[in-house]
């Protein structure tokens, strides 16, 4: 009931994935890329309601539990899947969000854009409720 379908308006998150492609460019190419991305963000901001948008520094760490101890791995390795930034905005549907993602200029530099609908309910709560309801049906 609260989970968006492809036709649902709501919040969407773009995750910009890719290597530090700008490291390989000349000054002229960089200037062109800068212009393109700046223009894109300005255009996007005028077309949709942008809630937040930031680049992420390449440093970082991952925190997890290993053998009963909390460990920190990092700094973050450079890879094609690395997330370089995000854009949180409102769209009328997943299709609309995808259409927007397709215009991102970094795609030409071998980056990818992940498009995800923002959830309105903790997936664990939803799943727990589903399982409990299923159990009640079994017990009835």
């Amino acid at each position: 009931m609260s989970t968006p379908t492809t036709t649902t308006a709501g919040e969407y998150l773009l995750l910009f994935r890719g290597r530090e492609w700008y490291n390989d460019l000349s000054a002229e190419e960089l200037q062109k890329a800068l212009g393109q991305t700046k223009a894109w963000f300005e255009r996007v901001s005028s077309q949709v309601k942008v809630k937040a948008s930031q680049p992420l520094a390449r440093e970082g760490a991952t925190v997890s539990l290993k053998n009963g101890r909390v460990v920190t791995d990092g700094p973050y390795a450079e890879s094609k899947e690395a997330i370089g930034g995000y854009l949180l905005f409102e769209a009328g549907s997943l299709e609309e969000a995808i259409a927007l993602a397709k215009t991102c200029p970094t795609l030409a530099y071998d980056c990818a854009v992940e498009v995800r609908p923002v959830g309105t309910e903790c997936p664990m709560s939803a799943r727990a409720r589903q399982l409990e309801q299923a159990q009640e049906l079994v017990n009835a």
């Binding site: 991952t62 997890s64 909390v70 370089g84 995808i98 795609l107 992940e114 498009v115 923002v118």
Partner: protein, 126 residues
Amino acid sequence: MLLFRGNEWQKGLSPEEMQTVASRWMAWFSGLKDQGKVTAGSPLEAQGKLVSGKNGRVVADGPFAESKEAVGGYFLLQVKSMDEALAIAKECPGLAYGAVVEVRPVAEACPLIAEFAEAQLTGATA
């Protein structure tokens, strides 16, 4: 930014465990909000698409669920240092069940701008 990676770990939980972790998670988020340390946070739907290629001609499905790497949600933190962000990440109620939290600082400037500025300084050309 905290990125919650992987959601496989949720699969093995009983409904009671799921509710417990979910409640703890929401309490964790509320607590951080009260302290002014988090400005936003949400789970992400398991559906979605990965757009790539020239003009985004390639549109692929996930997986965004049942994957160790998939981003299941995020928090936007407002803290003074990476150490503080790491300390908060270590409080994640999902860690005990196998969750992985990626901690990334928000860049001060667009890396493109920084790169361009550096290229100008060093007079780098193709």
